[in-house]
Symmetry: D2
Subunit: 135 residues, 4 copies
């Protein structure tokens, strides 16, 4: 079973077309990633800052299926998969909760672990590698 994260669409997520701004779908996916890491025991305030090792998003792609309005409930399912010793991808499915539930978007991100000074690739930290394998 993939990890899932649920939240309500906020007014600040929306734009003048009345729906969630396209880039904010990606921010919502990142929230799901954060919650999944926290649930795996990883301390976010340490993980998401530059402490010598950083694991930035190296690629992302999104396919938008339905608009989301302020107040809508969204569920994000999240599935990590290893790509190499120092990289992994995450597949996200966003569902607008109903009834009936409706697919809202499919998103994919790739992440690469690097030394923040040299930019050289570096193996994933153990706790992260374990979370990726658990996906």
């Amino acid at each position: 079973m993939p990890f899932t994260y649920q939240r309500t669409v906020h007014f600040a997520d929306t734009d003048a077309a009345g729906v969630v701004f396209f880039a904010n779908y990606l921010a919502i996916c990142h929230e799901a990633y954060e919650e999944a890491l926290a649930a795996a025991g990883i301390k976010l305030s340490e993980f998401f800052r530059d402490n010598g090792i950083v694991i930035p998003v190296s690629k992302c792609e999104a396919e938008y299926l339905r608009p989301l309005l302020c107040g809508d409930k969204v569920r994000v399912s999240i599935k990590p998969r290893a790509l190499a010793e120092n990289s992994f991808e995450i597949a996200y499915e966003l569902t607008r909760l109903g009834p009936p539930d409706k697919g809202a978007a499919k998103v994919r991100t790739e992440h690469v672990c690097i030394d923040s000074k040299t930019r050289a690739r570096s193996p994933l930290p153990d706790a992260l590698a374990q979370w990726v394998r658990s996906g």
Copy 2:
């Protein structure tokens, strides 16, 4: 008892100083306002768009007491109070959950109900006026 809203600080809320960007405290307060309205039965997708009547924030002020880090849990308490037939204020208290709990910010917003075409003041819609009175 004031309405309270709780959420986790997200990575997207933070800035390069490592803590929540000052303007994002206000966005978090607005989320609490939205949740309070939804709990009072107000449909957010209708309420927060221009349907002839709009109720923009006319003033805000914030006092920052403590930084918030990615992963921190924040509780926002929210207390509305009528100012006039067509305006109200909301007092928010943000608490970083511990233990020990610590005050993180105090925020106040003022809201004025206006006709979106003429910009003339207009009485609060009934459901909103009732929510304000309940504060």
Copy 3:
């Protein structure tokens, strides 16, 4: 010659890792799109709201090449291309200005013109179709 847009990286664009949050690269690209449309004589306040016809982003993808810091100067070049009577794509190249200049990201968005009520596909408005052809 593609249209180019230049701006400075703001503090609000960054996150606790000290660099621009990945989703904000897409927001910067959208700014370039807006500037290109404005330069083509399209009125943005009309274009980017729901007036019966909307032209949402239907897909996007990004490849991140280099981090961007607060204060960095970024140039975005933007090239539209028609995909069908009712859709088009835009290719963006983000360059961190030096010297030396360095590629910062490559982004692609797809846009589909639809009737906002029925969600049926609709031909691009003339001014937009002309801008796409000019790319």
Copy 4:
């Protein structure tokens, strides 16, 4: 003459009411602050991160006078003033450019210089103190 900063309202600044989200006025003011510091020779990527000394916003207030739409041109004037050896305030005026020009908002921020570890107050760095005096 106060320092002024001008920029176009972006789609990402707006919300589902069709106008700039109230918290984003503050982010636009911060951009003006950044530009003023850069014009005074301060390196932003160093200044706005935690390097032992941080200078967070300790208070802010805003009065909203007019809505801002996507594509609007906004000019921000910015005037700093010393409050103490370790703190200062900034007054901002936002003008929607016309013709005719119209006041859009008045904003004030307070900033306190502190040691990021001990949270004890610390004198303003020289370059910043000089910029504040020049206001």
